[in-house]
Symmetry: C2
């Protein structure tokens, strides 16, 4: 059967052959997760994704969400899927079993999420949001808050959301005006308007627990005066019973380009003065709580974008194998048509999609492994190192990956020709759905600023060099193989030049040419991502070379040879372009800064 949603062989390759996730089972925390268990988890996720989520992708896109007098209805098919998803206990895969979690390694959860998001990413948004809300409660809640909310959220009885954005406070969160006033009973009365709230209102769950960013009366302006509150849709009494409607009114949902199955809500809090919440964490520390959650949220968005790209690739591959159109380029005139996978331009597109899909999967799963390593590590030095690597990787995993994912989805439309533009095939929807991943959870422009402004200099630059040291390890191993040496050399040249590029940007900032540096922030994100992609593909090639030397099964021979081709293609066809991009950054043209506003037109 043709593969859909995600490539199982490749998922297994990353889990077991590249990252050796089973190693985690030697630690007590993950002792239940030997290879057999891991494979079972992935198989179950795959079954649910392919049988229960994928079939409703198109239907949900067409049906969309509807809004009527404060009530939001999600696509009909999502109700059944949601029930099954909760029954499978998939919302809190990595979390404490005490609260309804499954305690599995993050790396394995990412594999499951690869399937879920590849099958139906709009459906997944509710679950991701719920998990994030739960995680906030788990991380910053009082014992009482945990007792009241956590298990219900993690098991899907109640949903979660995240109320940050306001009409005048998007990328600039610090500009928010939602107000909190302390009541005598210790609760806070909340008033304000929030927009772009995923799953802010819906008919899937009995109650919705909204983490809300607001400013306590008298708090400082900007991000320093923001606190976090838990605001349930229906009040929850101390005994856990559900109380009155808490004056969180949905005033509308957005008409969007994609993710039509997921409601994007505008919410008015306290319009009748009846909305209250409890403080989550400490006063004025709302932004730091957000930062703690940010890595998880951004990694998820990278997964969403990547999953669209990866699904688009598999669809394109299946179609290219079946669609007959045109004789082979070198066949005699009048020859019969052949499947389009035989045409050079289609092969170039497919190998582009393949290599990016594979590299992106490795980057994302690798972040998961670093998270798991932190959990099992017995010393602070290692934990700091792992965390630093994660912190550097996050803007790449979110920003670079979703930028490339959108391009891959675009390629995936083209393989289908005119059919790709029609709703008959999933390709145009994947492209539409993928688009928002470049924008939400911090636009990719913000990701680029995060990489350059925060992550490059993190721990005095140590985090960035720690990551590049990992890259170097792979280069060194690859360099020992005669076949891989030329590729290893090219990746090494790229890494050296990346350091040079980073240094050039550092000098600009040192010379107070802040804008000159930041106008290159997005290009710098691009070249950093390219370098890490090359690393991952080279790493895969190293393993493939080792495996090929050990006489694998025929089917595996194809797979491993495909790994070598992906690496060869990317290193030979992308890295020279990356080099050009690095030259541009180092040269540091300032036309975009110098041009007057009038001169734009």
């Amino acid at each position: 059967m043709a593969q859909v949603a995600a490539d199982r062989r490749d998922v297994d390759f990353v889990l077991h052959e590249q990252l050796n996730v089973e190693q985690l089972s030697q630690f007590e925390k993950f002792e239940d997760f030997n290879k057999k268990t891991i494979d079972m988890v992935v198989s179950e996720a795959r079954n649910l994704a392919v049988k229960e989520l994928l079939p409703y992708l198109k239907e949900a896109d067409e049906e969309g969400c509807s809004f009527d007098n404060g009530k939001v209805t999600v696509p009909k098919a999502f109700h059944r899927a949601y029930k099954l998803f909760c029954e499978g206990e998939w919302i809190a895969m990595c979390d404490d079993p005490k609260w309804g979690g499954q305690g599995m390694p993050a790396t394995v959860a990412l594999a499951a999420n690869n399937y879920f998001n590849g099958a139906n990413y709009p459906f997944m948004l509710q679950n991701i949001l719920s998990h994030g809300a739960g995680k906030l409660v788990e991380s910053f809640g009082t014992d009482k808050q945990k007792e009241l909310f956590l298990e219900k959220i993690y098991t899907g009885v109640w949903g979660g959301s995240m109320l940050l954005t306001e009409p005048e406070a998007g990328s600039d969160v610090g500009a928010l005006t939602t107000k909190a006033v302390k009541n005598d009973d210790g609760t806070y009365s909340i008033t304000g308007n929030k927009i772009f709230i995923t799953s802010g209102e819906n008919d899937l769950v009995e109650n919705i627990i909204h983490p809300v960013l607001a400013r306590i009366e008298g708090a400082p302006p900007g991000t320093a005066g923001i606190s976090l509150f838990l605001v349930p849709k229906f009040w929850v009494h101390d005994d856990g019973s559900q109380g009155d409607f808490n004056d969180v009114v949905c005033t509308g949902i957005e008409e969007k380009m994609g993710i039509h199955g997921s409601p994007t809500c505008s919410l008015a809090l306290g319009g009748k003065g009846q909305c209250k919440g409890t403080l989550l964490g400490r006063e004025n520390k709302g932004m730091s709580a957000m930062f703690v959650m940010m890595n998880e949220a951004r990694l998820h968005v990278g997964m969403q974008g990547f999953a669209c790209a990866s699904a688009s690739y598999l669809n394109a591959l299946n179609y290219a194998r079946e669609r007959v159109q045109g004789a082979a380029l070198t066949a005699p005139r009048g020859s019969a048509g052949v499947p389009i996978i035989q045409h050079p331009d289609i092969r170039r597109i497919l190998l582009t999609m393949k290599s990016y899909s594979e590299g992106m999967r490795s980057i994302l799963f690798y972040v998961g492994l670093m998270e798991d390593m932190i959990k099992v590590s017995d010393n602070e030095t290692d934990r700091v190192r792992y965390q630093g690597i994660i912190d550097v990787l996050i803007p790449v995993a979110k920003g670079y990956i979703t930028d490339r994912a959108f391009e891959m989805c675009s390629h995936g439309v083209h393989v289908f020709g005119g059919y790709g533009f029609t709703r008959e095939y999933p390709q145009e929807q994947l492209l539409r759905d993928c688009k928002i991943t470049q924008i939400y959870e911090g636009t990719n422009g913000i990701q680029a600023m995060d990489l350059l402004g925060r992550k490059l200099g993190l721990n005095k630059g140590r985090a960035f060099t720690d990551l590049l040291a990992e890259v170097q390890k792979t280069i060194d191993v690859a360099g020992e193989s005669k076949d891989l040496k030329p590729m290893a050399d090219m990746v090494e040249v790229c890494v050296v030049k990346l350091m040079e590029t980073a240094k050039a940007l550092g000098m600009m900032m040192g010379a107070k040419k802040i804008s000159s540096a930041f106008v290159q922030a997005h290009p710098f994100l691009d070249v950093t991502g390219d370098t890490l992609m090359a690393w991952m593909l080279l790493w895969r090639a190293v393993i493939a070379t080792q495996k090929l030397a050990a006489n694998p099964k025929k089917k595996d021979v194809s797979f491993y040879e495909g790994q070598l081709k992906s690496a060869q293609f990317f290193i030979n066809s992308v890295l020279p372009v990356t080099k050009g991009k690095m030259d541009v950054i180092i040269a540091g043209d300032t036309a975009a800064l110098d041009i007057s506003e009038e001169a734009f037109g």
Copy 2:
């Protein structure tokens, strides 16, 4: 007032300052088109576009087309717009006044089309198709066919379409199976099924004249056996009166990603054996007729894509000037928010969009000028040279421009942040509408093959070198200016390397490594387009420099300085990347060819 649809100052710049279109009025054919008349035409087009087309862009997208029992309804608002468009005689702007045309230079018509497509490209499709059908009649029709159809089509009383594609014959037109059988009265009975037919059925016009590609019984297989027929929806008697329904049944319309205002129809011809047509041109010469029309059609598609990008830029620019979000990067902590046009990353995006919009406009209008020059030229040598330049430029004008246009539309979404993803703003629609321009009228993969396989070697390579000789002229002039010399040198390096790249591809083909060459076809289209973009922007900079030296008005100073910034940005920030892409082509990696089909996954 903020500019919308197209930038008038820039349109005027290309028409008058860069291309000096008024020069055409010295020739009898265009003697009526002095500067004043040209400006009046553009102003009228602008008025119609901004007042009558743009306001219905969103409405038509949401309303879409509907299909009911063979009948197709287009958006309500299009009826009024169509009436006004016909009254303005805009369908046949460049054609013979004898048949209802306006006889204007193609360059001027492109400026008008820039406005029309920038305002509402889905609306424009009917008009473009009608014009193409009319042009076929004018080029290949008998006197009788012209008398019966031409004026009615050119004046919009009847519509036109183009029936090429079939379910199994898309990029491979030669695979079509629609059949024509000669009747005793000289007509042909037509049977077959066509898909993806723009405006194939609609309620805008009284009758639709379908040019149809079909194979006469007994004709050779492949493209050599294809003939062209005129098949009206309602038969037209010899006295011009309208007869019976001609058995051209619309069986459905596509649900698509975009251009919802334009119906994409499936048509069944002769299902009841009652469909007939008349031969247009000669038997088995249908494909050569298509080739004659192809340049016009592809140039139009380039215009469509570009117009989306250019409109997206103007929207983004207007928004960036008004949207306040975040303090300036270098402002003290706690400073007030500023319009986002002040942020470096937004400036980089805007200047990217600006420079591409400008370069694309110049390329398209330049093709128009070449067409006009052919019409007024008094010698065959020049005409061949102009035609050769057009032929080389067409795959760039269609393929390269729509590829870049889609990217620009994507940038245009990002400037709006989360709002860009909503239907509240036009950006997401422009992105969706733009997508099909990369696919139809020959996918951009086909355009790339056209450039490499046909155009590079056209007239023994003379056409390509003629074009580059024009580029060199600009480089030489720019090189005389001290300020422009560094940019001129970089463009020259790029041209030299483009020749080297072309030679490398030529050597591959000479060595019968056909697939190795063609796997680089699309990258070669990219680098050719980049080079021509740099040419156009350098050319603009040359003029701007001259004008700035002559103490222009204050507003013009900004405009000309903006021209210098566009050139500086593109040459410094894009050409080094182009160089990397050329290195890739020259190196000629064959991973995409060597990988086995199984290894794709």
